[in-house]
Structure formats: C-alpha cells, structure tokens
Assembly symmetry: C2
Homo-oligomer: 358 residues x 2
C-alpha cells in the first residue's frame, strides 16, 4: 500500500494524491492510503464506510465544523494527464483542481492542527463525479448521519480561493406537447406538436429570472430549455415534442415551491419532474460561519451551481464552498491548480481553526 507523508509541504502532498490515480469506482487504494495516514495520528478518531474515510477531533469544544472533499476524479484526458507535472507555478494533471488540492489541504490540517479551537470532522468520500446514487457523502448521510453532525461545513471544491456560500437548488422537468401524426404532404390531417412547443420556448425566452437575497447573499436564478427533441421522419407531421427545462432557484425557495412556480409558468402544458434538489442556505449567521468568513477576508459570493453543500444543508448543517483551483479547469484536459492557492488555502483554514471562536 502506498504511504502518504502528511508532514510534507501541501503542494508535494497534492501531487502525491493525484499520482494515486482514483477515477470514480476505483477509490479503494487512495481511501486505504488516507485511512492509514490518518490512523497514525493519535489525536483523531477514524471511521470508514466503503471508500469513505471520516476522521474527527474529540476535544469537547462548543462547536464542531466539517471540512469535506471527494477522493475521486473524472477519467484521465485522452493524452493521459498523469503523473502530475509543474510548470510556472501551476501543478498540472487530472485531479489537481478537482479536487486533490483541497484534499491535500484537509490532510495537512488534520495532521498539523492537533488542538483546533473548534472540533473538526474531516470527511473524505468517494463517487462524487458519477450518478448521485453512488455519492459517498450521500451514503454516509443515510447510514451514519451522526458522523456529519456539526454547526458548519466547508466543502473544499475549487472556487478559485473565494468563499461561495450555499448553493441554488435545481430542478429538471420535461415539457411535452402532443400532436397527431400525418403525412407531411397532407399536414392538415394531423396536428404539429413541434409547432406547439414554440409557445413553451417563447415563455422561457421571455421569463426574467429572479435575484433573491438569502442570508445576505444575492442568488441569481436561471430558467432554460437545455434540450429539445421532436419528430420521427422528414415526411411525417410530428406527434410529440419534448423540451427539457432546467430551473436553478434560490436556496430560500423549496423544491416544492419551485415546482409550483414552474407549473404556473408552463400552464396548459404537460410538465413532468425528472429531477429536483433543494439548494443550500449559506448560514452566514452562525458563529462558526462568521468566524470563517472573517478569517477568509470577509468576501463571500453566492454559489450558483448545485454542489454537495446541499447534502449538508439537508442535514441542517449550513455550508460554504471554498477551495483552491479555478472551477473552469475542473474536468479540463489541461486541468491544473496554482500552487500558491493550495498553500494559501491551507494557511487561511489553519488561521480559522486556530483562532478563538468569535
């Protein structure tokens, strides 16, 4: 089993973690290495569930915070982008940005901060880059929700070193129009379902997305057709058309209310929900959150994309996204993380865990 030295500098540790290739479904070796390294630290209690590893301080502090990150990556680039290499201060390779840089920060803190001012739970999980049913954080939330108990959580997904609070909810619906098939040379014997879908697109195009303030952050919503399909042949009047719509709604709106809003907007059309997930409030009113934001320099932005912070929110744990790496480089063939962002994230989080509660 490869051994991880958690005392080395956090950039070298990032590279060591990336070079332990761990595409989703193959997280066993890296989970073993992480577990083994953490079990060598006497100040931590370590638990394991599948290929997820959870380590915690048990100092009886008044507050507990979570630092969470996933161990898996998307597949390597066509021209394999591992092992890692360094060029101009940037660490290149699969996983550097999404999100072994963040995982290295978690591990460095776990080893170095033996007596944090807040109890800390470090969560390392599998299956984030694939279908939701395989998500290790979701699995722990079902099987060991007590492992995730806390007043506040930080998910170390890449945010370019900014604090992004909470996240919008997301919903997908299929809007279907039905017609009557006929030969296209005798169109008047049928009814064109694609023509009917024009009104759906017109309403979506005219819709003005809301901007909603939640816990001091302004969440920008969006509502879009993301796919459309209709018709069977070049000489047949189409008897069905399906518009897939994605609605991103502020975390102050429940998925149920978002669905009602969407059904209202699309009144007269057949609407079927295929996917819906509540957003996550940033919870910046919590003391641990306020201290965190202060330690990070005070600037917080809303998160628009749905992330695993919502899994914490569903357990009543407000959460923010904060980590090294430009999110636009996640999954990219030229994926990289700036070395200085990894170093800065480790230093900033160390300040937060070491400073007395506000």
């Amino acid at each position: 089993m490869p051994s991880l030295d958690l005392s080395q500098d956090v950039v070298t540790l990032t590279r060591a973690l990336c070079d332990l290739e761990s595409v989703s479904g193959h997280e066993g070796p890296i989970a073993d290495a992480v577990e083994e390294a953490l079990r060598r630290l006497p100040h931590l209690r370590v638990d394991r569930d599948g290929d997820a590893v959870v380590a915690r301080t048990e100092l009886g502090r008044g507050e507990r915070v979570v630092l969470a990150g996933h161990l898996d990556t998307v597949p390597l680039a066509a021209t394999p982008n591992l092992p890692t290499w360094v060029e101009g201060g940037l660490v290149y390779g699969r996983g550097t940005c999404d999100m072994k840089g963040g995982v290295a920060v978690q591990l460095a803190l776990a080893a170095a901060v033996e007596a944090p001012v807040r109890d800390v739970t470090y969560v390392f999980y599998d299956g984030e880059e694939i279908e939701s049913e395989h998500n290790g954080l979701g699995r722990i939330a079902r099987t060991h929700p007590e492992w995730l108990d806390a007043q506040f959580a930080v998910l170390l997904e890449p945010t370019d070193g900014l604090v992004e609070g909470g996240c919008n909810g997301t919903m997908r619906v299929d809007v279907t129009t039905k017609g009557v098939a006929a030969h296209s040379a005798r169109a008047w014997k049928g009814h064109n379902a694609i023509h009917d879908a024009g009104e759906v697109l017109t309403r979506l195009a005219a819709y003005e997305p809301r901007q909603v303030e939640v816990d001091g952050l302004v969440y920008r919503e969006s509502l879009n057709a993301v796919r459309i399909a209709g018709g069977v042949a070049g000489n047949v009047i189409p008897d069905a058309c399906r518009v897939e719509v994605n609605y991103r709604f502020a975390p102050s709106t429940s998925a149920a209310d978002a669905e009602a809003h969407l059904r209202d907007l699309l009144q007269g059309f057949e609407v079927a929900v295929t996917d819906r997930a509540d957003g996550a409030r940033p919870g910046l009113d919590r003391p641990a959150a306020a201290a965190f934001v202060a330690a990070m320099g005070g600037v917080v932005k809303p998160k628009y994309g749905w992330t695993d912070v919502a899994r914490f929110s569903a357990l009543g744990v407000p959460a923010v996204n904060y980590g090294p790496g430009d999110p636009m480089k996640a999954h990219a063939d030229d994926e990289f993380v700036p070395a200085h962002q990894v170093v800065e994230a480790e230093a900033a989080l160390r300040r937060w865990l070491s400073a007395p509660p506000a």
Copy 2:
C-alpha cells in the same frame, strides 16, 4: 424461371405477381418473368435496363402515352404477409396495394390491347421504395430518356381508383440557431440557442399555407417543422438548435422560387437546403389527358404528395396518378387491394386506349 400467364384474370395475375416476392434490391426474378411474358407478345418491342423493363407498341399513332409502375415492394410484415390470400373481396399481402395491382393492370392491357388508338409505352421499374438514387425510372430518364418520350403518362400508384393530377413539389431545409454554451447554473454567461428557435416555430405556426390553382386543380400547400433537436446535456446552455422544415409547394412554383419564399419567411435565420424537388403539373390541357379524364368519369383531384410523376414532368411529360388500392394501405401490415378496384382500373384504361382520340 416462373412464367406469367397474362391472359388470366387481372386479380389472379395480381396475386401471381405478389407471390413473386420482390423487395427492393431483389427485383431480378420478377423483372425476368415480366420481360419473358412481354417478349412472347409480337405486337410489342421490349427493352431492358437493369431490372427495369420497357415495352411499347409502334403503330405510328399521332400520340403516345405511358403507363408506368414499379416492381419492388417494401419488406414483408413482421408476421410475413405473403403468399397472398383473399377475404371478403379483398386481396391481402405485401405489394397488393403498392403496387402489384397496378402492375397487373399494365400487363393485362399490354397483352390484350394489341392495337390501341394511342401508341402505348409500358414501363416496369425497380428501386422505387428506397433512396432516390436507386429509382429505376430516374435511371432510365438519365440513360434512355427517349424510352419515356410521350404526350402524357399515367403512374399506376394506388389512388383508390381516383385520378390525381400532377403533384406538389417538396423541399427540406435545416434552420439552425447558434448560441454560446455555458453551465446552466450560470446561464447569463451563455446564450440559449433553443430559446432562439422559438421564433422559428412561431413563424411556422402562424404561416397560412397557400392554395394554388394549376391547370384547373387546386393544390394545397403545407409548411411544417418535421424534426427539432438541440442541447447536449441537462446542465449546459445549448449552443445550437436545428429545426428541419418540410415545405410542400404547388407545381406552378419552381423549387428555386419555393426556396426564395422560404428564405424570406425565415429571414434572420441560417437556412440550408438539404433536399428539393420540383412538383409536376397535371397537364390536363393535353388531348391525351383530356381523353383520359373523360374515360375516367371526369373527376380529377390534385396530388399532394411527391411521386414519380414529377420524373415525367421533368422530361416535359405531364402525368397523373391513377391506380387501384387505398394509399393508406400502402406499406401497412394489413396491406390489401379491393379486387373490384383492380378489375375496374383495367376496364377503364382499356376503354381509354380503345376509344378514338378526342
């Protein structure tokens, strides 16, 4: 080689032709049988090109007319619908309606009417039910256009025993909208190509198709989206959307003018023509056509779907569709032709070929 008895009654002949299975691409045996039967008739000159057979009287009449039909069929039904069977006066089986009933009428006339008042060219061709490039009539028009010289042509495709004059032209275009991809959680960074396609559908839905009189028949046009596709994933703002549009236009409009009309209607959008074919005028002002209509009882309707009559029209030969069988039963699993329609078509055409020119 199976032998065809052209002197038997036309319904029995229809069944014999159907039982000579001849799915497109496998017309060799039926073409051989047709050629052999025609060569036994001393009053006809017979030519062959591939699996097409052309027989003609050469009586030096002032007029020449064509009777044309294709030898191939679509594939058999899942529960094979051959050999043929008869039930309640209906002949069932693949090809009965489309169009061995019509071919039987051609062959019966070729054998029985030794001295028609108009010279007659009987055309039997292959490859009608598949891609246009395989169409035997189109091949003859390229390699031996003189074989098709005539003042008037009748295509014996099923029309339920009605005369359907000429045919509408047809054109297909792809209308494409272009956007800018972005994550659907940050839609404002992109531009939604599917939303833009809404305007295309709105214009199509609002369009009022024309009705155009040509040579005394009113051709009803139609303009429809027949297919639409856009989007790549449930979380991506679509950067392209394609609407396939089919325009059926009256035979008095050239394909070039139809294209100009369509481009005008869809101004502001990218339009690419993928397929276009001129229609066919019914040419009911020609003496042979007038005599034909009179022999059929005087009722003529316009043909809306594009058919091979347009191949005659392109050679300067006006043409009509007239044949036994309900066109809705062509290609159907329960394909059939009413026996009486086959008998009546043979009798009506025999009257026309035997009556002195008007």
